[in-house]
Subunit: 349 residues, 2 copies
């Protein structure tokens, strides 16, 4: 089933980011004697956890006794709403620019031990609905609203309580800026959205598909950089932003998120760490529904683990200075994830 | 001394990479309760260390009883010289391409406890000279020769013995490809090498300079992403590649590497982890001295530590999905490094 290109070292092109990745499947044989991580499991619940319903946070603010999702301003925001503008730049090599924004934290559930794969579909749907609300509200003012989840201590997440962050900014950050450019160029050239063409091919090829449900597909992108990186794509219609999703697409998204996370947890029998987030068309005061036909909304999961719950892929030296490199191929990763059980390993005990 | 742009949140432009970084100095106040690392110190010497003189490596090969530097082929190379080419790509969204190359390991010193800041200038000079030899040899055949050092377990380095790696490839990797394009565009527009103009300004502004010696400057770039990121730039002449360096520049490079690494170790009183490497004009069969006037050779140091020997900066969530973000400003980082002692903390005992 795998083509020859999967078996031998080669580079692959990422058309969304105009970047290449080095794929070296023969390197899976390499032994590992370097740093290992603490298995990302079951920290004992902290009764002083500031994210709990009714808890007092470091700002002195007290959380309500919330029962579903709960959104509050980040107490240590990287982006503030009101700051003086920097002076105009006087040299092309020393350019700075104003940056305004706001940072919020969103708890998924009142229970600290409830991660996405353990939550019910209705509970995850409440999260999706709140994301749509947040995007609607913040998108009116800000050019970019980044919804993202850092999960696990290995991903710099300082609190195991299930939560995500929302950082909204007056500027279009690097990653979406590049995706905006690449999708636009493709659209001008081929008159179709890049990711719609990509999706069509993947649905035929099938070898990188992990899960398919009524409205979404979870696949390992052809150009994936992280060992078990995946992408969620809507298979019906062309939603450009989360705010374009139909009720069916929202419920189906909750379902595929749960299914994918169960497989992730089962892969190495641990609460699988990752950073994940959504990318859709830019927002802001001048944005309007349907104004970005070159865009297709998608989510990406970037998990660091490579071989086990304690051995991660280090993106260092060569990756930082030259180019990303991966050992197992995207097709091999997709197959391993497909083979993972659909029932959570903890539910089986 | 600091301009207003340094005190308040703003974004800065990196003209070498055509990217922005979010600078949020107010965020230095954030407490840290997340994952901490093991202090990167003094692992006990391993008598079976495969990098030692006379040791047998996992390939069954035996190292000579080397007394200075020692280069050998990586036993688990990510790049092989002879692999079948992938089939031609049949779709613009599924592009792969042939990749050939070779990976070498270079020990800096026979003694496992001898890191760069503890080595003598003559010993470091031997390393620099060997880098030049390697670049000369591999650069005849390969388009890109990436010399890089991953230092410390936190940087995925599985062996504390002082060593670096050299990965040479038939393709121009992402990072140098972008730097090639940006420097070329600047050169066409302004008729001068970008980094020469940049250097000139930094020598006047002074606020980001950490060390200056007869031939090199170590500075925190205006657009630095990592908390204590630095760049080494040659201040005389316009060397485009390591092979262009004069004897004075080579010795001076050994000196500034030692000086910078002493400051790094003294900052948090630990063997300071980082990835570092060199970027110069591309090589290959058609390259010739002086053919890339838009280039200026430079080294970059990318260290992960933020607050102490055990608390690093996590480049996760927002950074992966949107844009790099830093807390302390490059000017503050440069000042802290300048204030670090010039005598290694271990030498003082
Ligand atoms: O070759 P090493 O040191 O075993 O491996 C280390 O450096 C490589 C090059 O930066 C990375 O690809 C690996 O992820 C890292 O663990
Ligand atoms: O805001 P947190 O969760 O404390 O911080 C974490 O996520 C941020 C956004 O991805 C990163 O900038 C920080 O480096 C990381 O530690």
């Amino acid at each position: 089933m795998f083509s020859a290109s999967s078996e031998h070292q080669h580079v692959r092109y990422n058309p969304l980011k105009d970047e290449w990745v080095l794929v070296s499947p023969h390197r899976c044989l390499r032994p590992w004697s370097g740093q290992t991580e603490t298995a990302p499991d079951d920290q004992p619940p902290d009764p002083l956890n500031p994210l709990l319903p009714g808890a007092t946070r470091s700002s002195g603010q007290r959380n309500p006794v919330y029962t579903s999702t709960y959104v509050f301003p980040n107490d240590f925001p990287a982006l503030l709403e009101r700051v003086p503008d920097p002076p105009p730049s006087d040299h092309p090599l020393f350019r700075s620019s104003a940056a305004k924004g706001t940072c919020r934290v969103m708890c998924f559930h009142p229970d600290s031990t409830m991660t996405i794969p353990l939550m019910t579909v209705d509970e995850i749907l409440a999260v999706v609905n709140e994301w749509v609300n947040q995007l609607k509200e913040l998108g009116r003012k800000y050019t970019w609203v980044q919804i993202f989840e850092n999960k696990g201590a290995i991903m710099g997440c300082s609190n195991p309580h299930p939560h995500c962050q929302i950082w909204a900014s007056s500027y279009l950050p690097n990653e979406p800026r590049v995706k905006e450019r690449c999708q636009k160029e493709y659209f001008i050239k081929f008159k179709r959205p890049m990711l719609l063409d990509y999706l069509k091919e993947e649905m035929i090829k099938k070898e990188r598909i992990v899960i398919l449900n009524a409205e979404w597909v979870a696949l390992v992108p052809y150009w994936a950089v992280w060992p078990y990186e995946t992408m969620l794509l809507p298979i019906n219609g062309k939603p450009q932003r989360m705010t374009d999703l139909t009720d069916e697409q929202k419920r189906s998204l909750a379902e595929i998120m749960k299914q994918l996370n169960i497989k992730y947890d089962n892969l190495f029998k641990c609460s699988f760490p990752y950073s994940m987030g959504f990318h859709g068309a830019p927002t802001g005061p001048s944005a309007a529904p349907g104004d970005s036909p070159h865009w297709l909304l998608h989510a990406i999961y970037l998990p660091p683990l490579l071989r086990s719950a304690t051995v991660k892929k280090f993106m260092v030296g060569y990756e930082m200075l030259a180019q990303s490199q991966r050992d197992l191929t995207p097709e091999q990763a997709a197959q391993k994830l497909r083979e993972c059980d659909d029932v959570h390993y903890k539910a089986k005990k």
